[in-house]
Amino acid sequence: MKAMLGWFAGLVLIASLAVAAPRGTVPRSSADKYALHAVRNRFSIGVVAVSPEQVRKQFVSDVNRCCVVVEVALYPGKDGKLDVSLNDLILHQNNSEVGEKPASAKVVATKLQKKAQATRDISVYPSVGVGYGSGGYDPATGTREPGGTYKQVGVGVGIGGSGSQPGSSDKDRSAMETELSEKGLPEGSVLAPVSGYVYFPVERKKNQTLTLEYTVNGEKVELRLPQ
């Protein structure tokens, strides 16, 4: 009985992991279908540098605020097995030797939430009014002031509090994490091609050269991304 319960618990755990695991994107039929690609003995890689406009269309989360997004497709080699890990990817800026590793969906979502919380609205409230005053006794002069109309023009300024922006709540962070995770590159041992987005916490700049490095089992690939 205990053994059966153990098997059942194991199955539930595996099923929940399978549901929670990133799904990624659909890989193309082969690595050479990507504009940037490389073929090695143990793997092939295809890469697409996703432009900010494409990111805006592909993601509900405002990933452009923190990251450079790269779509990576990995194809196992002849031995048929490949260990995919985000730690094997590095993005170098301007040919620098020091590079940035990808950020996890959780880190990116937290960063985006913080950025959203830091943004505040300054609201302007213009106001125009017209009215009538009936007049009254003015003790300064001892006379009765006549009635008349008055007009007023005004403007009010209000600064919104933190947490009022889209993407700033904890529920938003959870939703962003789900989206980024589900569209992210799946990790783990794979027998079939996988692809997905990878998020590098790098700010986009003009005239910036980005080079993606992928190293696995001693084999290294460097692909220079188009600007």
Binding site: V60, Q113, Q117, G131, G136, Y137, G154, G158, P166, G167
Partner: protein, 208 residues
């Protein structure tokens, strides 16, 4: 003298709404921002702390303001002055003659937070669907059925606009004789998502 008092009143009116929120900006970050970082895994936490230090180094990036038009107010009012108006704070004679009391000019305005009979409308007062995200759905045919996470939500013609809590949803639109439309939705508060579901005619299997 009148000009000086009027000038002082005008200055107070202009700077009061600006100075109050400026003080609130200096308050510490909300609990949600501080509690989110410890939830990350160990490697993630290291990256988060690195990002925090970067943010401190670049305060200009952290504080971003966006200018927007709140609401335009058009109003009409009536005021009546029936006798000496006691106003000891600004006028040396202990009264404010009609027409010079600042409230006369602003009572009719609904945005004035002190003397207006109407409530003060803050920057969020006119936000629609507070805390939710908008899904604008269109599909052909209009009588197609909409399912969210497998649960029936209504027909397309009745559900042109959906407001959902932030999260991920599975949207299915189906109609008789048409292929189902499936899409994974990610909803964020205050964001609007436009979905155009095109249901292709179902392909009939022909006998060989």
């Amino acid at each position: 003298m009148r000009e000086r008092v009027l000038g002082l009143a005008a200055l107070l009116l202009v700077f009061a709404p600006v100075s109050l929120p400026a003080q609130s900006n200096e308050q510490p970050a909300p609990a949600s921002a501080t509690t989110s970082a410890p939830e990350a895994a160990s490697s993630d936490a290291a990256q988060s702390s690195k990002e925090d230090s970067n943010d401190k180094d670049t305060p200009a990036e952290k504080r971003k303001f966006r200018l927007r038009l709140g609401a335009v107010s058009l109003s009409a009012g009536f005021s009546h002055f029936s006798g000496p108006y006691y106003y000891p704070y600004a006028y040396p004679f202990g009264y404010a003659p009609f027409g010079f009391y600042p409230g006369d000019f602003v009572t009719a305005s609904f945005w004035y937070p002190i003397s207006s009979p109407l409530p003060f409308y803050g920057p969020e007062a006119f936000r629609y669907g507070d805390g939710r995200g908008e899904i604008r759905l269109s599909a052909e045919p209009k009588e197609a059925k909409v399912y969210i996470n497998g649960a029936y939500a209504g027909t397309v013609d009745k559900l042109k606009t959906l407001w959902l809590d932030p999260g991920a949803y599975d949207l299915t639109v189906s109609a008789a004789g048409r292929e189902d439309f499936h899409q994974r939705l990610y909803v964020l508060s205050g964001k609007s998502l436009k979905i155009s579901a095109k249901l292709d005619p179902e392909q009939t299997k022909e006998n060989p």
